[in-house]
Subunit: 337 residues, 4 copies
Amino acid sequence: MIIILKNNAKEKSIVKLEELLQAKHIKTNHIQGINQNIIGLIGDTSCIDMDNLYAQDCVESVKRVQEPYKNSNRKFHPDNTVISIGNTKIGDGSLQIIAGPCSVESEEQIITTAIACKQAGATMLRGGAFKPRTSPYSFQGLKDEGIKLLLKAKAETGLPIVTEIMSQSDIDLFTDVDVIQVGARNMQNFELLKSLGRCNKPILLKRGLANTLEELLMSAEYIMSEGNMNVILCERGIRTFETMTRNTFDVSAIPLLKEKSHLPICADPSHATGKTSLIESMSLAAIAAGTDALEIEVHNDPRSALSDGGQQLTPAMFSDIMEKIRGLCNYFGRKIG
Amino acid sequence: MIIILKNNAKEKSIVKLEELLQAKHIKTNHIQGINQNIIGLIGDTSCIDMDNLYAQDCVESVKRVQEPYKNSNRKFHPDNTVISIGNTKIGDGSLQIIAGPCSVESEEQIITTAIACKQAGATMLRGGAFKPRTSPYSFQGLKDEGIKLLLKAKAETGLPIVTEIMSQSDIDLFTDVDVIQVGARNMQNFELLKSLGRCNKPILLKRGLANTLEELLMSAEYIMSEGNMNVILCERGIRTFETMTRNTFDVSAIPLLKEKSHLPICADPSHATGKTSLIESMSLAAIAAGTDALEIEVHNDPRSALSDGGQQLTPAMFSDIMEKIRGLCNYFGRKIG
Amino acid sequence: MIIILKNNAKEKSIVKLEELLQAKHIKTNHIQGINQNIIGLIGDTSCIDMDNLYAQDCVESVKRVQEPYKNSNRKFHPDNTVISIGNTKIGDGSLQIIAGPCSVESEEQIITTAIACKQAGATMLRGGAFKPRTSPYSFQGLKDEGIKLLLKAKAETGLPIVTEIMSQSDIDLFTDVDVIQVGARNMQNFELLKSLGRCNKPILLKRGLANTLEELLMSAEYIMSEGNMNVILCERGIRTFETMTRNTFDVSAIPLLKEKSHLPICADPSHATGKTSLIESMSLAAIAAGTDALEIEVHNDPRSALSDGGQQLTPAMFSDIMEKIRGLCNYFGRKIG
Amino acid sequence: MIIILKNNAKEKSIVKLEELLQAKHIKTNHIQGINQNIIGLIGDTSCIDMDNLYAQDCVESVKRVQEPYKNSNRKFHPDNTVISIGNTKIGDGSLQIIAGPCSVESEEQIITTAIACKQAGATMLRGGAFKPRTSPYSFQGLKDEGIKLLLKAKAETGLPIVTEIMSQSDIDLFTDVDVIQVGARNMQNFELLKSLGRCNKPILLKRGLANTLEELLMSAEYIMSEGNMNVILCERGIRTFETMTRNTFDVSAIPLLKEKSHLPICADPSHATGKTSLIESMSLAAIAAGTDALEIEVHNDPRSALSDGGQQLTPAMFSDIMEKIRGLCNYFGRKIG
């Protein structure tokens, strides 16, 4: 960490700052510049709150040198984390395809869709039981009933299931779920993250609409610092000024997260774009960029879907896209599942 | 709601769409354009999910005409909502000043700060007991102990207290709190909002970092649709590309929210800018823009604060700013408290 | 175009609006809703300025139905535009690789780099002669001397050259240039666009940092409406809140622009990310997404470059990446050049 | 400037970096951290291009300590710059009101509007002769004819005139103009800025839609480094995800620019919000925040305006707002004009 001093900083104030740092076992190193004096901090600065340093009279600004995340940092764990889910593994070089409807709506809907997804080549089943909707007047999900239906679909197809949690008070309902998803709107619901850190299930953590990659890694840190190291990071689009797509799919997040972290990465082109016509090209782009998994919305009858109808593929469309995905995976020497 | 049809829309598909709409008691009106055909929807379209319409083969795009929020909409409730908090009222033309530290840190800290805030003219006391921090390694708040200390400070000064909730499982700890705050990161924690809708306390709802004003009003709708009509909307800065301020303070949100909604508005220049040097000017700007309340961070000793040191005012600075605020309120014929 | 009327709109004001529209040969169609009345406009609304309609007393809001771009719109020109540049073609299914340094710095530098680029498989040479730099104290380019050096490099290698124009008063210097580039900062320099519309050279039009795809198409329209139909659209990253990359590479812009327009598309992973470590993965992602061309910065000695050193590849790195690009192109059945 | 070295940086590469810096007369100071080594740079680093340092093998990242702007920096020029325009001054504590139509449309329109603006209390007249429009099919301005009409309106009212330039080739047409405006879309049209730096007229420089305050100051630097020190900085809203306003008015930019720079500041609530209903509150907010000038769009008949009809005030509305502005100025002890 580097502290840039104000030009008119008083000696007394600098001494006070030094004492405060020494109390935290941080050594300092002064650099006398021509227009600006700076102090370099030596030691473990992860215990220092940057914002607080700004309260010292003599401080003009503070710059971080070390990354604030530890458990998820590739610097300290060079090897890829590989997470086992049922018989499959994520992060081992394979590609996992998580497919299924936005919401679980009925037994017939989820089982029909699950069978179709499996036939087309999906390796896991997604489906929302608890639905975070902007409007309280929209369909809110079947809740515990939805989880039961997912488990029936799992029994039917053998596909591990991925479903979203919205509140830590529901955690007991997720006992038989294979992967618990944290949605974009809850990426910084820190109490929920801590609870999930104390369970031993893989967590699919989605990037918030306006969250930086560093913040995503810090949210992973919340889960990992409680003991659960099985975190999958998911890029699902960020909010920008562009209005033609629902969000802007930050494909570069995939290789960047791989550079900075050892955790496996998932990409969600359905939410990132909100447009079925873009799912194929964005799925292929994400694979070319190195993603470990894709999460794609598929519905047996999107026209009668209770949510997100416009971004869900029909089984036929999904099957066509899977063909393209399979071809590209072969080319890259990667297997699906 | 308006549906724009694809140029090559098939008659069969349009008929299907019509049937679907009729089943929801929506009448339709066709407009034959030169390049484009559209359908106008007549009836209560708040039950229709726009996204789902995109799943119909014949639909190119959908535009909303009616606002999706009802309870918070000024169209249906022209008069300002006035909320009573202790002996004061918010929304009645007065200005409320909510001041206090970012975090409650100790009995001495909160009581000293509360007394100083009251002396300077604050009308309510804020202080974080549960703290949403980006890093799990930062101070997380004193939790229930923090709320007890706030209540002591209230007993000492008579100031009503405002403090943030992070999880619906903590709701019983907030029984004696005067105003429950929902932080920006939880603005779309819908389960929390629903719980708060079932309690009868005023809720201070902060706008999320990347949330539109319409989404803020929809989150208010979550609380109101459960029966709690006492919602205060708070502008606290949005995330943009600018890096000189922590966030960008959207001052125009104040008059716009007043135009669209009857709910009282609060502005938080401390979080919006993250810079003590901007609090004075941004407080005055918010008053000039018509805010009903200001939330300002004050700490008895910011240099030793455990969080957000750089944006908290000293009591002396706050007292100076209050002088300016008082003057401007007098000018506008508004009273404080 | 759809006009939503205010609830309290006066008959007189609506009549006035109707007259104004009739004067522009627009027919109207009224839809009486339950909470809202709307007017549908029938006719060529491209001559109507949406903003101006807001000035009418009775208008609450205006929604566009038709796209405002014509010449670049795929609806009216279903076939891909194919542009000839020297012996190569862009937009015909092939992949063009435009490589070269950020700035032309010296004869030795540009010729060495051009030869290396050609050997690695580039099909065109880029190089900045006029450089738009944030700071007036940074290197501003060799200007006309730079163009001369580019022409020498073309003579040496046979590669067509692409270089940026910053002012319409320089247009005569570009007589022998093969493709004139308009930089992101000049995307809405409308006077420059009009001048380029009156020359008969291919124009590589870069998307502005904060411009929507619709605005990019409207800027193409400026060029095309003056007669020059040879426009290549270039995605080069947009400005968001993320700070780990210089910009956010909007890969979905590639298939979306292809959907909306018949013009060829180029992608620039160098500027989009600002990081050499991401060029390979983002180049492959752009190909998977269907780009017609890639623009990549290569410098014979990036460590001594006068601009953008951190995002320019060495010839060896470029050669490695070209191997991967060639492989992926083969897989997709596309040829380079 | 601070350079953070890679963990695996080779001695040889560090030596090379040192040599490169010494060649630019920069001294270095090494700080050995526990996890990271850094180099502090001592000397005038404004000649160093940060991006280029990234090309050195041993460099992980670079952080700037000194601000890159000099002429506009308050550190080196503590006193406010005061600019004379006709008989008035901007930056001396007074408030200037620049009012007038978006576009000059006819002699009658501009003269009627100018007289009305003057009567209401405006101190300068604005009006667009060259209009930057997103669409080539929209009204593009009366050009040189428009400037002539503005000069007639000046002769009639005595108000100094402010009008926008779009191309340096038009500069001779601006000889009698009092203040030349650079629009948001041209903020980084560096060739235009340099030309304006060589004329001796006050320049009103508008912040680009996606430009940081530092970039705005760097664009001022382009003008000032050529010799013209009379630059007025203008905040006119930035582009964000919010759609209820045309742009987001960054009111905090006013005090921040005053902190960082000695140049006078103008605020443009008309373009910042795009809504007449917000002009009054945002004008008052800007004054409370310390602006030196306001630019407000007024049209004698907005309903028949050729551009931006929806954000232009009628003379009556403007007159009402001026009453409020006058009151607030009195309160702050500032005079208008």
